[in-house]
């Protein structure tokens, strides 16, 4: 028998239970039966439709795959791809064997661009504040600001871009700078090459881009460098490096020494690997330089690292002409300079080209310059093309708040992102698979970006927006063709332009457009102070192997 005095706790518990789900067994069975009955009635297949064209476009045959060569950017650099298109829709991305940055291979970033194209979260229309607007409304809003800037030669006009390698975009920006001589151009790429550039300045007195020829290398010392990991030139470097490791005789095999603070693919593939504090990497470089006869300070290293460095140095010395030392992106300029000196002592197989980045200023300095110019009130019109500095810029610049204080700000981007939240106008950017453009690969090879599909939404390219700023409504295609017809006149000049243009499109590469190799001056031995073994933690900022600088965060294939 239950107790006659009801327990108040139990009563509350009962009430709670009934409040949660007021279904008894009978009702549950009824619902179950109804569900089963509904499931049976829904068995029939839905009707399907066949929808033919009204007028069949040329070339397209239903069910037949077409392949087009184009170029996709990563960090501003182009990588050649061949895109498969079915009935007018791109469905697969493969590497372009003719393109030096692809050689027929792709990486996750290139393959996943397809999903970014069809991303339902892409921006579909211009926006001002919280209102959806039209492009003509934007043009109308832009005009008075542009006229004011034209009157004062663009003194308060600023342009912020990512890394620009597109010859057409560079030409357009140069034209704009001619029209507005005092306009400022800032560029910021979160995955920058500032220390490599500064290292080249230290060693050679001028910025040079070094391109290792891994095919000729037999001993490589990686100082936090990751040439087979992920990045704009990594597809090519991996191919070269792995083929050098597949040489037949053991004497010809590429041997890799890797010292690094965090795991990389290169470190995983290395024959000799040592985990070392980020700051101690320079000491390895110093020990190697000392072994090669440099008058540098003695650098303390833990015993195993010391042994590693001496073994690497001996091996490098023994394979002069086939040995190389590489410093990683995160290492300071002095370490880069030191590796340049080591490589010049070793007569390493490295090609040098002049950097084709039109801006000499380091990325970080350029962005800091923008922030301070805004704070000084020197900028009234700010156009941001494809960059997202409010997200990937250094947090202490507080760029978002700074951008908010500029009277007229425009952000052109594929997604309504962090920077777009602070600008007065937000414009949707076309995906590379919808755009006409051109890009240079890491070695300077240019290739055309041709659209696989018409823009899915009311989007425009950076070329369109720059044409708008210049006051001429020229299509991206005409702009790109203009660039290359003048290139053809100056540098090719034989045959017929149309045939040359068509061949460039079909091959996915502009023939012989790679930057000319230059003979570097003798590398100076930089002053490098050895680092002391430090206690405590060091934060290393690195691009993500899948979402890169964060711009691919919305792509489900990259999670």
């Amino acid at each position: 028998m239950p107790s006659m005095t009801p327990n108040p706790d139990a009563r509350i518990r009962d009430r709670r239970r009934s409040a949660k789900l007021d279904v008894d067994r009978r009702a549950a069975l009824k619902m179950f039966a109804a569900g089963a009955a509904l499931a049976v009635t829904s068995c029939g297949r839905p009707a399907e439709e066949v929808v033919p064209y009204v007028e069949m476009p040329g070339r397209v045959a239903p069910g037949i795959l077409l392949r087009f060569a184009t170029t996709l950017p990563l960090g501003g650099y182009g990588r050649g791809v061949i895109v498969t298109s079915l009935e007018g829709r791109p469905i697969k991305i493969d590497g372009n064997p003719r393109h030096p940055a692809s050689l027929g291979a792709t990486d996750v970033f290139a393959e996943a661009e397809l999903l970014s194209l069809y991303d339902p979260d892409r921006s579909k229309a211009p926006r001002t504040g919280t209102l959806i607007a039209s492009w003509s409304a934007f043009e109308a809003a832009l005009r008075p600001h542009l006229e004011r800037e034209q009157a004062r030669a663009g003194a308060r006009f600023a342009l912020l871009t990512g890394r620009v390698t597109s010859p057409t975009l560079v030409r357009q920006i140069r034209d704009l700078q001619r029209a507005l001589p005092r306009a400022r151009w800032y560029r910021y790429e979160p995955v920058d090459d500032d220390s490599a550039r500064a290292g080249s300045m230290l060693a050679f007195g001028r910025p040079l881009t070094s391109i290792p020829r891994f095919g000729d290398v037999r001993v490589a010392l990686m100082l936090d460098a990751d040439p087979i990991g992920f990045g704009p030139e990594q597809i090519r470097f991996s191919r070269d490096l792995i083929s050098a490791r597949r040489s037949r005789t053991s004497h010809d095999l590429l041997r890799i020494y890797a010292a690094e603070p965090s795991w990389t693919l290169t470190g995983a593939a290395a024959d000799h690997h040592i985990s070392l504090h980020h700051r101690l990497i320079r000491n390895v470089a110093l020990v190697v330089a000392r072994e090669l006869g440099a008058a540098v300070a003695d650098a303390p290293l833990p015993p195993d690292a010391e042994k590693f460095a001496r073994a690497a140095a001996a091996d490098l010395k023994a394979r002069k002409g086939e040995a190389i030392a590489l410093a990683g992106r995160r290492q300071p300029a002095e370490v880069h300079a030191l590796t340049h000196w080591i490589n010049s002592q070793l007569q390493s197989p490295i090609g040098f080209i002049a950097p084709f980045d039109p801006i000499d200023m380091p990325h970080a300095q350029s962005l800091a310059g923008l922030a301070s110019d805004i704070r000084l009130g020197e900028i009234e019109t700010l156009i941001i093309l494809g960059a997202n500095p409010a997200y990937d810029g250094p947090g202490d610049l507080a760029l978002g708040d700074a951008i908010r204080t500029v009277p007229f700000t425009v952000h052109l981007g594929s997604h309504d992102d962090e920077t777009a939240a602070y600008t007065s106008w937000y414009l949707p950017l076309s995906h590379p698979l919808e755009s006409w453009s051109d890009l240079r690969a890491f070695d300077g090879t240019a290739s055309i970006v041709q659209p696989l599909i018409r823009p899915l939404y009311d989007t425009r390219t950076a070329h369109d927006v720059l044409a708008l700023l210049g006051g001429a409504a020229t299509s991206s295609r005409d702009l790109v063709r203009e660039t290359w017809s003048s290139y053809w006149r100056d540098d090719v000049g034989r045959g017929e332009y149309e045939a040359w243009w068509r061949a460039s499109l079909e091959d996915g590469v502009v023939a012989n457009s790679a930057s000319a190799a230059i003979e570097p001056p003798t590398a100076n031995l930089p002053q490098v102070m050895p680092a002391n073994a430090s206690e405590g933690l060091t934060v290393i900022l690195a691009p993500d192997p899948v979402v890169w600088d964060g711009s691919r965060a919305n792509n489900a294939w990259l999670q």
Partner: protein, 198 residues
């Protein structure tokens, strides 16, 4: 105390004994019959189309080749439905029946035909290879030259497809006769077996 089992209990027990094996078998049989019935396979069912297009008139009557409209059939996975532009730009341009065609062309909006021969999504059927190997249009689509309105002529079940794969020879023709809607198997079809399978 009454008897637990009534006189008819024996009958019930015997019937139950018979039912235990027969009812499930019957159930399976009925389900199988239902699954292969026209209601499920869609065979011989005429679906509504925006324009009552007659294959009988165009092929049987006028003798237009299949490939004139289904142009991709020899090279592509899909035969293809002709674009609006192909049809009646010259003849009977005012017929009431063809009003949707004119609207389509005028408004540049495609005609939405209802699909007649439907395969499941996991079937990657390729027309071109079947044509190349001598399987005729009519083998699967039936005597379209005698169909005033298009209908599915065969069950298109997996069993039906596999039956042909088990012994394709009776369904193969010389390449020259693949598009002949009125073709009849010759008496020596069996003798040509090796030539056709080659």
């Amino acid at each position: 105390m009454p008897q637990i089992f009534r006189p008819y209990a024996d009958t019930v027990a015997r019937a139950a004994l018979v039912a235990i094996p027969t009812v499930p078998l019957l159930g399976i049989g009925i389900a199988y019959w239902f699954a292969t019935s026209n209601h499920i396979t869609g065979q011989s069912i005429v679906v509504d189309q925006p324009i009552p297009f007659s294959h009988q008139h165009h092929i049987g009557g006028l003798g237009i080749d299949c490939r004139y409209c289904h142009a991709g059939v020899e090279v592509s996975a899909t035969g293809g439905i002709p674009p609006t532009h192909t049809c009646h730009s010259q003849l009977y341009t005012n017929a009431q029946m063809l009003a949707p065609l004119r609207t389509s062309l005028a408004e540049q909006r495609p005609i939405h035909w209802s699909k007649v021969n439907r395969l499941p999504d996991y079937v990657y059927f390729d027309h071109s290879i079947h044509i190349a190997k001598g399987v005729s249009c009519t083998t699967c689509h039936g005597p379209v030259d005698r169909m005033p309105l298009m209908q599915q002529a065969v069950p298109l079940t997996m069993e039906w497809c596999l039956d042909c794969y088990r012994d394709p020879a009776p369904n193969l023709r010389p390449a020259s006769q693949v598009f002949d809607a009125a073709w009849k198997a010759p008496a020596d079809q069996a003798a040509q077996r090796h030539a056709l399978l080659a």
